[in-house]
C-alpha cells in the first residue's frame, strides 16, 4: 500500500462515526486497501459498492447527466458514501449519526489524493 493511500485511509477511518473505509478498484470490484469495522467483509463491500457505482454511473450517463462524481446512500442504520473519478473509488460506511459534512470533506480530499 502506498503512503498516499495509507494516509488517506487512515484519515478517513478516524472520522467519528466511520465504521469502515475502503479504497476500491472500481473496474475489478476488489479492495485495494481497507480499514474495516467488526464483521465487515472487504471483499463483499468492495464488490457490492463497485457494482453499485458502475451501474449508477452508467445510468446517469444514459440520462445525459455526465459522469458520476459521488453516490451517498442513507439508510435506517447508517450511510454509505462512494466517490471517485477514475479507476479507484473511495467507500465509507458510517453510523446513522455520523458527521456527514466531515465525512464528505474527507472523502473529497481522498478522491483528490488518489487522482
Amino acid at each position: 500500500m502506498s503512503d498516499a493511500v495509507a494516509s488517506t485511509l487512515d484519515r478517513l477511518s478516524h472520522v467519528p462515526g466511520v465504521r469502515s473505509a475502503l479504497i476500491v478498484d472500481a473496474e475489478a470490484g476488489v479492495p485495494v486497501a481497507s480499514e474495516l469495522g467488526m464483521g465487515a467483509s472487504a471483499t463483499a463491500v468492495a464488490a457490492l459498492t463497485a457494482s453499485l457505482f458502475r451501474r449508477t454511473d452508467e445510468a446517469v450517463r444514459q440520462a445525459a447527466l455526465g459522469g458520476l462524481g459521488s453516490f451517498q446512500l442513507e439508510t435506517e442504520e447508517g450511510h454509505l458514501v462512494v466517490a471517485g473519478r477514475r479507476e479507484l473509488i473511495v467507500v465509507v460506511v458510517a453510523d446513522r449519526d455520523a458527521q456527514l459534512g466531515l465525512i464528505r470533506l474527507e472523502v473529497d480530499r481522498a478522491v483528490e489524493a488518489l487522482q
Partner: protein, 384 residues
Amino acid sequence: MRNGPGTADLQRWSEEVARDPGSPSFLPLAEAYRRMGKTEAALRLCLRGLERCPGSVDGHLLLARIYLELGERERAADEWAITARLDPDNFDAHRGLGFFHLERGEYASAGRHLERAALVRPGDPAVQEALAVLRRHLAKSGGASQTAAMANGSGAPELAPPEARNGAGGSAPAPTTGRVETAAQPRVAAAKRVETAPQPTAPAASAERVDEVAQPPARAATAEAVEAAPQVTAAAQPTTGTATAAGRSPAGAAKAPGAGGLDPARVFEPLSKEAPFLGALLLDGRGLILAGSVRVGGTTRSEALGAVVGPAAEEAARTAALLSIGRWRGILIETDRALLHVAPLEEDLLLLVATECGTPVGWVLRTAERAAELARRFLAEGVV
C-alpha cells in the same frame, strides 16, 4: 438432471426458508421455482436469501441466471462480477462475463474472462468457440497484436480452427463473427441458448451441447421474453422489463392520482422559483412518471430520469440490505451536470429532486422534504 424435486422437498425447503430466509434451502427452492417458470418468485427468494448470505457464490450465480432469463443482462453481469470477486476461479462467472463482454464488443474484457474460464475448464466447447470467434474477429479487424497477446497470455488455451469444431458439432452454425458484430440487435438465439445462461454469442452447436449436459430446456415463454428483451442496459429499464412504459409523460398519468385538480406537470411549480431547482418527479415503482418534470441544461430530462431512477434505487436498496445497514431512506447522486436526490415516498412510489451542480446538500435535503409534501398533497387530492 431430468427429475425435479418432489413435493416433499419443496415443502421442506419452503418451511425452512419461511423460518429463516437465509437458510441454505433458499437455493434449491429458488432453483425449483425457476425451473417451474415461477421466475419472479425465484428472484424474490434469491434476493432475500442473499440479503442474509451475501457471500453465497451459488446464490449470486443463480441470481445471474434469473436476471438473464428476465432479459436483464447488465444485472446478470453484475452478479457474475460479484461471483468472480468472491470466487476468482469460478468458471460460470468468467464464462458469463466473457460472453457478456463479447456481445457488447468489449473484446479485451471478453478475452480476459474467456481465457480465465478456459483455464478453469479447458474442454468447455462453448468457451472454446467463443475464443475462436474472438480471435477471428480481432484478426479480421486488424487486431493482430491483441490476438497475439491473447495467445501469449497466461495459459491461453490451444484453439482448434473453428471450422473443424463446427463440423464436429453436427450442425451448421450461424456465422459467428457476424453475430458478434450485430450483438446490439435482438437475439436470434433459440430457447436452449437462453437456458444455458452465458451463451449469447456462442455458435448454436456448442450451446446445444452444453445445454444437454448442464440444463433442461427453458420454457418457451421464458425464452421468448428474453429474446424480445430490448438490448438496452438493465439500468435503463423499468423493473418490470417493459422499457416502453418508462418514459410516459405526466399528462398520460393525469387521471390517476391527483386528478382532483392539480395539473400533474405543475405539482412542484412552487419550488421552481428557487434558482438551483431543476425540477422534481414523482414516479411509481415501474419508472412511470406520475407528476412533475425536470429540465437540465434547458432540455427536458424527465423521461430519461424516470427510466433510470427506479432501477438505481432498487440496486441501492439491495446493496444496503446486503451490507446490513438497514432499509434505504434516500440517495444523493452527484453528477457532472446535476445533483439528484431520490427517496421512497410511500408504497412503491419514488420522489426525485434535481438541482444544479454544487447546490449545498442541506438545501437539497430540505427541498426534497418540501417536494415530498407537495407530492403527498397531490396524491391525497387524487384519492378524493
